[in-house]
Amino acid sequence: MGPLLGDKPPSEERRHWPADRTSRVPFWIYSDPEIYRLEQERIFAGPSWSYVALEAEIPRAGDFKRSDIGDKPVIVVRDEAGGVNVVANRCAHRGVAFCQQAQGNVKEFLCPYHQWTYDLRGNLIGVPFRRGYRGQGGMPADFAVEANGLQKLRVARRHGAVFASFGEPEESLEDYLGPLMLGYFDRVFAGRELVPLGGMRQRIRSNWKLMAENIKDPYHASLLHVFLVTFGLFRLDQRSSVEMDETGRHAVLVSRKGEQAVNDATRQMRSFKPDFTLNDARLLDPVREFAGDATVVMQTLWPNLIIQQQSNTLAMRQLVTRGPSAFDLVWTFFGYADDTPEMRRRRLRQANLMGPSGYVSIDDSEVMMASQAGISPYPGAEGLFEMGGREARSEDHMVTEGAIRGFYRHYRRVMGI
């Protein structure tokens, strides 16, 4: 359905990626089905912690939400003891994705095909005709219900966000994030009761890594995003930083609001419109609500989460892969239980900047589609990520692609390529 050619596997020799060239990224990694398969196995089903839901979406016992890790559907469910369980949405019998509701409340999960039944922890509790009927048929005598439950994932929670893993993470979620990223995470979540404000979802016709690159790249924001640039919401002449953890897998972009004024930087941005004004200024009426002077903090957590704090609009953006040339960007907007009605209205208005129709984010989803259209047909070409040097390190400015280099340094380590 997108403007893409078929995803052809590259020849072995074309698949070469010199070890010392992480500032150049070969285009076959964005379209090769074999690379996609390896990513599912080593990244999304590997020992990483993937974001799956907010606890506020499933507050009561029996509340569940469908989610995905990579392209694998899972269910996030609250049990009677208040615990949160994450199980594969795949019946242990014949594989039916038995849960077809996006969200809901149940006492148990029932597969419609042969009515196998599971409790809220994923244990198998019912198999019709297990003992047969009138002495005929039935499961073998050694069939053990306790050994045939749903596939259960490892779960970690922090301040209302739920993460899960198909693999066996060696680190706790806290160690996985590291102290720097944990600080930025807690800035939004610690001690706050969250209220979900609703979801949005868009199927972007590009490889998922282009999203990771986009949100780790503060340089493009000053040029592509007329809206951000003009209103000084995120621009490289503002005091800002790009920070990453030791592995390079997580990163954060931090910025402070500036003025709509002509200066040495805005003169280089064709996108800067000094005379542009809004007909209704209520759209942009930001109020400081976090400690410190940062007005934008965009955090990317390996492998599937972007945490967005752009003025007063807060959202989890979850990446769900849909083959090499598409991914779903799943937005969950939220506020806090103690928001005033005025703050709640402000969050709704500012959400106009984000999502599939966002004043800012349209630019990104469209440019990613155009990127894939140029990348897929040229698997032998490569992308150039050398703004700010060839190293991957934290910087206190925006004229850098360093966080993308950090991402690929880690990507290559996990993928073994």
């Binding site: 542009f276 999502g355 589609m369």
Partner: protein, 160 residues
């Protein structure tokens, strides 16, 4: 007490919807806010949010000014691939309340054509409208677009 609309009013509501589609489909975006009252509400909401009373919207405009800002974005600030849209509206059903306020619902379908691509089904849903009589004709006081599939193909740039 609500009443059925007169035949004349039914035609006027249909004309309002036709003018709405034409403004968006023909790229005469500046005409689109003029079909709304000054104090108006326009929202595009996925069915999932609507049914669960969750307030977030893809587009949320609380005044004619905010509608005009959407037009400026489509014209001047947003980067997007060129596209051609066609809005199809059918099944309009309306009632008139005692104070003259008109409530109207309709099904809509939007098909999209991107450069060198076959036409695709882009978005479908329901319009939930509150319509006022003003000088010069009918105007939308509220238009709520509740769309069926939460998954939007790539981006939703032009209003629904």
């Amino acid at each position: 007490m609500t009443a059925a609309p007169s035949l004349e009013l039914r035609l006027a509501i249909e004309d309002l919807n036709s003018a709405y589609c034409a403004a968006l489909d023909d790229g005469r975006y500046e005409e689109w806010p003029e079909l709304f009252a000054e104090d108006c509400l326009y929202r595009i909401v996925p069915r999932d949010n609507y049914e669960r009373d969750l307030p977030i919207a893809l587009m949320h405009c609380e005044s004619k000014g905010m509608l005009k800002d959407r037009v400026i974005a489509v014209r001047q600030t947003a980067f997007y691939l060129p596209r051609f849209l066609r809005h199809i509206v059918s099944g309009i059903r309306s009632t008139v309340e005692a104070d003259g306020t008109i409530r109207s619902t309709a099904n809509y379908l939007v098909v999209q054509t991107l450069p060198e691509q076959p036409t695709e089904l882009f978005n479908s849903g329901r319009y939930l409208d509150v319509i006022l009589r003003e000088e010069g004709g009918l105007r939308f006081k509220e238009r709520l677009c509740v769309f069926d599939s939460i998954v939007v193909p790539n981006s939703l740039v032009v209003p629904i």
